[in-house]
């Protein structure tokens, strides 16, 4: 019982074409699913490792003994941190006592595009370390904020608002205490401002950050 419609060469051809496309899509999808499955664990592991390596640079391992990646606080968009979507802060604890916080801050006033920073603050409000996570500053000029290019970012180590008055949190050109390289002032200006604002955020939200339990 074959209907005349299915016997028309046009329809036959269309069905054949559709089946071929479907077969290719099926094979492709299966292959992708398989590869995704076998690479998922290594990708997660290397992302975690990269993250931990970064934490190690700004927060000495001997300072805390909890799993930084597990004890986190969600921070909704905040003007002081400059985040437009919610970010996570990692809480460092030593024997269940909060000893530090790792915050992500974004400076929107860099020379070109956003500068993403990772800032580790000790419980007493002093900075343990700062690193640039991502930036689009001019290569060779503004990129000295990146540890791969210069040690400039280490100027922030051990800084705090109690050590340096807020009015001095500026580059030397603007009458502050922070060094900069000639030819690129906008970039360090943005970074200094972002770090100061992160410290202010910390002071304002200390209680909430400390109250975190895993």
């Amino acid at each position: 019982m074959s209907s005349p419609l299915f016997n028309s060469p046009l329809i036959k051809n269309a069905i054949k074409t559709a089946i071929t496309m479907l077969a290719f899509a099926f094979i492709g999808t299966s292959l992708l699913a398989y590869v995704f499955d076998i690479t998922r664990a290594p990708i997660e592991a290397s992302e975690k490792e990269a993250r931990l390596a970064l934490f190690k640079e700004i927060l000495p391992l001997k300072l805390y003994n909890n799993d930084l990646l597990k004890e986190t606080v969600e921070i909704s968009p905040n003007d002081l941190l400059g985040n437009r979507t919610s970010t996570t802060a990692n809480i460092a604890k030593y024997n269940n006592k909060t000893v530090g916080v790792v915050l992500e801050a974004i400076a929107h006033d860099g020379y070109s595009g956003d500068i993403k920073l990772l800032i580790a603050i000790r419980a007493d409000g002093s900075i343990s370390g700062v690193r640039v996570l991502a930036h689009k500053e001019t290569p060779g000029l503004g990129d000295y904020i990146d540890i791969a290019h210069s040690k400039w970012i280490k100027l922030f180590d051990d800084e705090s608002v109690s050590k340096t008055a807020e009015t001095h949190w500026q580059v030397k050109k603007d009458g502050g205490k922070f060094d900069y390289m000639v030819g690129a002032t906008i970039t360090p200006r943005a970074v200094v401002k972002a770090v100061l604002k992160a410290l202010q955020f910390y002071e304002l939200n200390k209680q909430a950050l400390f109250a975190v339990t895993p």
Binding site: V35, T138, P139, G140
Partner: protein, 228 residues
Amino acid sequence: MSNLYKEITLNGLWKQNTGVVQLLGLCPTLAVTTTAVNGLSLGIATALVMAASNGSVSPVRKFIPNEIRVPVFILVIAVLVTVIDLSINAFAHPLHKVLGIFIPLIVVNCIVLARVESFAVKNSPAPSILDGFMMGLGLALVLGLLGAMREIIGKGTLFSGIDLAFGPSAKQFVLTIIPDYHGFLLAVLPPGAFLGLGSLIALRNWIEIRKTAKNNTPTPALKPILSH
């Protein structure tokens, strides 16, 4: 038969070189080649995708209806690129961070589709795979060369960032070509890529012209003869 393979290799590496003759796939050429390692890595990833896409289309070329060949090709290429993207992310994570969005962008690199469409659908698997690989290798060499030029002129080093691909122990392979170099910013910025590519094209054309000139000297008969 071996003549065919020789021809394919020569085409990919020199005569029809993707980077400096066909000028296809310029987006990665210009964006990624800030260092030799970046350029070579993306070039080799592209070569692998091209060999794999040519190799998977060629055996099934007779089953692909003409009307849907382009969607099928794109599907195959997209799958392969994603597989390579995931693999690099899993096994060379830092390199993945550097090459970033340029790996998924291999999908839209027209040279990949071009070789499938113009070679793999007309030839058997073995020559197709070789064609894809050689075309990709030709591009990789150009990307590597351009990256090396921009790196030496821009930063005075060669192979910086090699540890991203081969682990921290490879750091010793980073060469400082010009010590105490202050850098030449233009070479690292996008205009440097255009200038560098332009010089490479000029160099290739110059070699080609000299070769033709040499071949032509012993046969003056090629001169046009005016007839009355």
